[in-house]
């Protein structure tokens, strides 16, 4: 039972993370190749989401299964929202890197 609830918590967190990205960088803009956006802002949006995920990992001591679930749920939520595959792959990969290794130290 405990396992069930904590899995649900991972799912809910992944959804809220994806929704937060979508609020700031909606699929309609992300999927439009003609629409330029500030790369600095886009990096900031993703980095903030990844940092939140890394904190969630630390607070909840996720094992390999729940880390994988977090990445997978995040990916599926982005897909449901209609993002292009390319963006989904970049965002999901970044999330997994942050959750497994933590943020890259700034030089």
């Amino acid at each position: 039972m405990l396992e069930y609830f904590s899995t649900r918590k991972v799912t809910e967190f992944a959804k809220s993370l994806a929704q937060d990205v979508a609020k700031r960088y909606p699929p309609a803009i992300a999927n439009n190749p003609a629409q330029m956006v500030s790369q600095k802002r886009l990096s900031g949006i993703l980095e903030e989401a990844f940092t939140r995920a890394a904190e969630f990992n630390r607070e909840n001591r996720l094992g390999w299964y729940k880390k994988a679930k977090l990445g997978n749920e995040f990916k599926w939520e982005l897909k449901e929202m209609g993002y292009d595959e390319k963006f989904i792959d970049v965002a999901t990969e970044g999330l997994i890197v942050y959750v497994t290794r933590g943020p890259t130290p700034k030089t």
Partner: protein, 392 residues
Amino acid sequence: MIYYSQIVAPYLRHLDRLDGPGSNDAIPAVRAASALLLAGEPQRAAEVLAGLPADGANDANLSGALGFIAYLRRQGTQAVQLLERAVELDPSNANNLALLAVSYLGVERHAQALDAFRSALRVDPALHVAQTLAWSAIAGSGRLDGALRALKAALLDDPQCASAPAASKMPIEDTTLCIVDCQNYALAERALRLCMAGCVFDQVKWLTDRPFDVPGVQTVVIPPVRSAADYSQFIIKDLLPHIDTEYALVAQWDGYVVNPQAWSPEFLLFDYIGARWGRRESSATDRHTVGNGGFSLRSRALLQALQDPAIQPSHPEDAAICRIYRDYLEDRHGIVFAPGDVADRFSFEHIEQATLPFGFHGVTNLARFAAAPRIRTLDFLFDGPEPRAGTG
């Protein structure tokens, strides 16, 4: 006849709303004829209209619609006659009143135009075309300077919008609200208060030439900015050191937040957003339509890029940034300007929007957002100051 195209879109929307169950059967024909006239097919439009009663047959909607046809045909006198009849039959139709006003304006009957605009605004104070073109009637009657003084005085008497509870205010992340104003002190303070009434900013700064004590506002004393050219120079080259956040929301005494709920974090994806201008194809740079600087969001990255010595300040500063140097800023500095549809949700100036954007700019839009009805209907131009509550 002087033709004001601004009335066309709102009146077409009015015709579309009339074209439903229970409406006059002739309205669809008038609607079709309007489209043909606008497409440059007057002959076909005449054929469509051939069977209709030319005098409007004592029907307010049909008289108004035929007045619109006359207006599109630049037949000013006939438009006035039909619309006067429409208004006589139904004095509560704001669209016919506004079209009558525009028709008077077209034949340079400015006083009657202003009266008709005021009547339209009494029915619908949010009628953008009436709010804006009323100022053409004011200018045409030679009263612009006096009217502007009266508007400023009336706004200072206008009850301030009550501040929303802190928890329900819209958070505007990583943004400094700023106004640079060394002339319209009281109105600049009013604009800051109105922005802060519904939004929370990281910082609020009033850059001016003397210290003021306004709660929640950091006044920063700067050398006097006395002219529009000084303002442009300051905004382009001198604003950067005053902004510690990633974005600056630049407001003015006549440009501020009017719909906090329309804020979107999406706006922060761009380095510059301001109300869209009309498209002008007269030169290569004029193809850019975003946008007005009087109420605009600018990134720190843009303010830094503007320090490039190749960028020479010129007036007006928004045209310098968004037209003269836009291509350079994009190519050399990677600056991204918002597209028109995003700008339309952010702010408006001359171009009417279907839904109320986050903010606005422009003297001609100010009355619309006043709290006092006598300001919204421009009655303040014709009567004395309203007695203040509690002063006896």
